[in-house]
């Protein structure tokens, strides 16, 4: 029996090996052929995707696309960006207008299962919170009964808030304003007692807009889970693997302490794990049908996850919070690269 199992295992390994060495998927083929990745991004969200003074796109969502380009094409610059509104984003992906959707999109069941798209991972964990002026002496969201709450319409934010108040048998008065500028004015001039949106947004607003940031407090309750991540189309497993492991490589690089500055030096040092990562040994690149130095290219040209975070989100006043690595008390965890 043991013999048979060995044969079976051998056959399985062989099958896996063949599968692993199969050709790149249609998306990667077309990307290589046209020479660039078409990347769907936000039309302008600080820290995630935003054109700078010279019109160059910057942000952690943009960095993900740059990383995929570095892995597949060897050059992080080989990207073209399609700014997409919230309504357009899934159509653009489904119809093939973009190859990757990297647009602070919340991973939900209905989207993943029902829209013909696949979420490949999470590059930012967010959640909805409440901000109040400190002078109101509110310490918990449970004390918000009867409060006037500023909120933007049409997002899950409004629905989450309604759910939360109903579940806690509290009343509230929504002040619904579409434009961010105006909703903030309403909050800062005291037209409403509370402002609610994703915590990352609250932190950024408090840092940038409050005359004295210390006068405002973000309540400890986070009432929803908003994991943002890159999205690809159904039907191209190779492409999904490529984008997924690009994200994981960025996280893994941070865990290994590899940065864009020290990776050349670390690659010489002889640590076998790093040797595998940079492609000096092993054949991880071959399994993805790409250059064996793909992960090296990602870190060298774009940096690891922590570098990307510090470049784009730290200046907004966001701290790592739950986006720390798993071994530092956060949620960022990459399966082992081996």
């Amino acid at each position: 029996m043991k013999f048979n199992i060995n044969i079976l295992a051998g056959a399985l390994t062989l099958a896996l090996f063949c599968a692993a060495n199969s050709h790149a998927g249609p998306t990667a083929d077309s990307v290589v052929k046209k020479g660039f990745i078409q990347c769907g991004v936000n039309t302008g969200l600080a820290g995630f995707a935003q054109p700078d003074n010279n019109g160059e796109w910057r942000g952690i969502d943009v960095d993900l696309c740059r990383a995929v380009a570095a892995a597949l094409l060897g050059d992080a610059k080989k990207n073209r960006y399609t700014p997409l509104t919230a309504q357009q984003r899934f159509t653009a992906l489904q119809s093939g207008e973009v190859d990757i959707l990297s647009r602070n999109t919340t991973w939900t069941f209905a989207r993943d299962a029902g829209q013909g798209i696949n979420f490949v991972g999470v590059n930012f964990y967010d959640g909805q919170g409440f901000m109040v002026p400190k002078k109101r002496n509110i310490k918990s969201a449970k004390q918000l009964n009867g409060a006037a709450i500023c909120v933007q319409p049409g997002t899950t934010t409004e629905l989450n808030m309604a759910d939360y108040f109903r579940a806690n048998k509290m009343k509230f008065k929504p002040v619904v304003i579409e434009k961010l500028e105006e909703v903030l004015n309403a909050y800062f001039t005291g037209r409403c007692d509370v402002f609610t949106t994703d915590v990352s947004g609250l932190v950024a607003v408090r840092a940038a807009r409050a005359t004295n940031p210390a006068d405002h407090m973000i309540l400890p309750e986070v009432i929803s889970k908003e994991p943002f991540g890159p999205v690809v189309r159904h039907g191209d497993d190779h492409w999904q693997d490529l984008v997924k492991w690009t994200l994981f490589a960025m996280i893994e690089a941070e865990e290994l302490g590899l940065t864009s500055k020290n990776i050349d030096q670390q690659a010489q040092a002889g640590n076998p794990v790093v040797q595998r990562f940079v492609g000096a040994t092993g054949d991880f690149g071959k399994m993805l049908a790409i250059d064996n130095r793909w992960a090296y290219n990602i870190v060298k040209q774009v940096g690891n996850y922590g570098e990307s975070f510090e470049r784009h989100l730290t200046p907004l006043g966001l701290d790592r919070g739950v986006n720390k690595l798993w071994n530092k008390g956060g949620l960022m965890y990459a399966p082992p690269l081996r």
């Binding site: 077309s30 039309t43 302008g44 969200l45 600080a46 935003q50 054109p51 700078d52 003074n53 010279n54 019109g55 160059e56 796109w57 073209r80 960006y81 399609t82 700014p83 997409l84 509104t85 309504q87 357009q88 159509t91 653009a92 489904q94 119809s95 093939g96 207008e97 961010l180 500028e181 903030l184 950024a204 607003v205 840092a207 940038a208 807009r209 200046p315 907004l316």
Partner: protein, 359 residues
């Protein structure tokens, strides 16, 4: 009557002709005296014209933060065009402005003007796209800012206008198929909002096309805008045509002119002259409508300004940003309306009504 007396007279009749009018004048003067100094103080004296990251603008006594505009001017003018190639859209803007000037002040005869426009449009295409003459190729996804607004509205008006004349003639045609299709088209387009068509073109259309095939986004927007403007303009042109007395047409018929000769030499020139004010009205509306392309993710003039506002450094300076946007639109719309008035005067005593009366 001396100059001084004339002024007193003018003041009395225009500003203080009655008690209510005198009160209104006083109220306005007092209000202006109160508001203007504060406004000037805010907009100029305490204003910041440059502040690296917006921090200087946030001082307690800071006035208007024009630094937003001076920091983001490249993005506002050229969108996401590659930065080392910014001279190309800059030249395009200069070319377009020169074209508007040459046409607006009638510096060239019509035939030469047509060839000039044609040559300029080709040059603009080459400059924007590149890919020839050693210019690097720039996909039109990266066009933006004021350049995009000017391109969309110039090409839109230039192409929609001839189409609208055909539609207006079609609607008045005696051939039923032509008439009914013109009516159907105009009524259909006027019955749906532009915003919904742009939305459908960007959200629905791609789903019907085979995978990988995508009609260019900019082209989609430009086409939708042309088709829309044509329908509205057609009704304006038709209004002009209705104003021409039927005797004109009959006289032309009696002279043995063919249909196209009658249109070209008799009805259309008069109809367009009558229709100048509503035509320019529609042009101005159309120019401002180009800002709707934000729905499909194109960065026009207004959108680049709005996107600049989402940057934390400039968050909160919405008043300055929107004032600048308003100034920008005004700088183009006001000359358009001046041009229409000049055109009216010109056609009134040129080959216009005076000449008709002499016959």
């Amino acid at each position: 009557m001396s100059r001084g007396q004339a002024m007193v007279q003018w003041t009395r009749t225009r500003l203080f002709s009655s008690w209510p009018s005198a009160l209104a004048t006083l109220a306005i003067v007092i209000l202006a005296a109160k508001l203007l100094p504060a406004l000037i103080d805010w907009a100029f004296l305490r204003a910041h014209w440059s502040a690296g990251d917006g921090a200087a603008c946030r001082g307690a006594d800071a006035g208007a933060c024009w630094a937003l505009v001076t920091a983001k001017y490249r993005f506002i003018l050229f969108g996401t065009f590659p930065v080392d190639q910014h001279w190309r859209p800059a030249m395009v803007i200069a070319t377009l402005l020169a074209l508007y000037g040459v046409s607006g002040f009638h510096l060239l005869p019509a035939k030469k003007l047509c060839s000039l426009w044609l040559a300029a449009l080709i040059a603009i295409g080459v400059l924007m796209w590149g890919g020839v003459l050693g210019l690097s190729y720039v996909e039109n996804q990266r066009w933006g800012g004021l350049t995009l607004t000017l391109l969309l509205s110039t090409f839109g008006i230039a192409l929609a206008f001839p189409l609208s004349i055909l539609l207006a003639l079609g609607r008045r045609s005696e051939m039923p198929i032509i008439r009914w299709s013109a009516i159907g088209y105009i009524e259909l387009v006027r019955g749906v909002p532009l915003i919904s068509v742009l939305f459908m073109a960007s959200v629905l259309l791609p789903l019907f096309l085979p995978q990988g095939v995508s009609i260019d986004k900019l082209l989609r927007a430009q086409l939708a805008m042309i088709l829309f403007a044509a329908a509205y303009l057609a009704e304006v042109v038709r209004g002009g045509l209705q104003a021409i007395p039927p005797q004109q047409e009959e006289a032309a018929l009696a002279l043995g002119l063919s249909y196209w000769q009658r249109v070209r030499y008799v009805t259309l020139p008069q109809a367009l002259r009558v229709a100048i004010p509503p035509l320019v009205n529609t042009f101005i509306g159309f120019f401002k409508d180009t800002s709707l392309v934000v729905i499909i993710g194109l960065f026009d003039f207004l959108t680049t300004i709005k996107v600049s506002l989402t940057e934390p450094a400039w968050s909160g300076f919405g008043i300055e940003a929107y004032l600048f946007a308003a100034l920008g639109y005004f700088a183009f719309c006001y000359p358009m309306s001046r041009y229409s008035q000049a055109l009216e005067r010109r056609s009134a005593h040129g080959a216009g009504l005076g000449a008709l009366r002499e016959n």
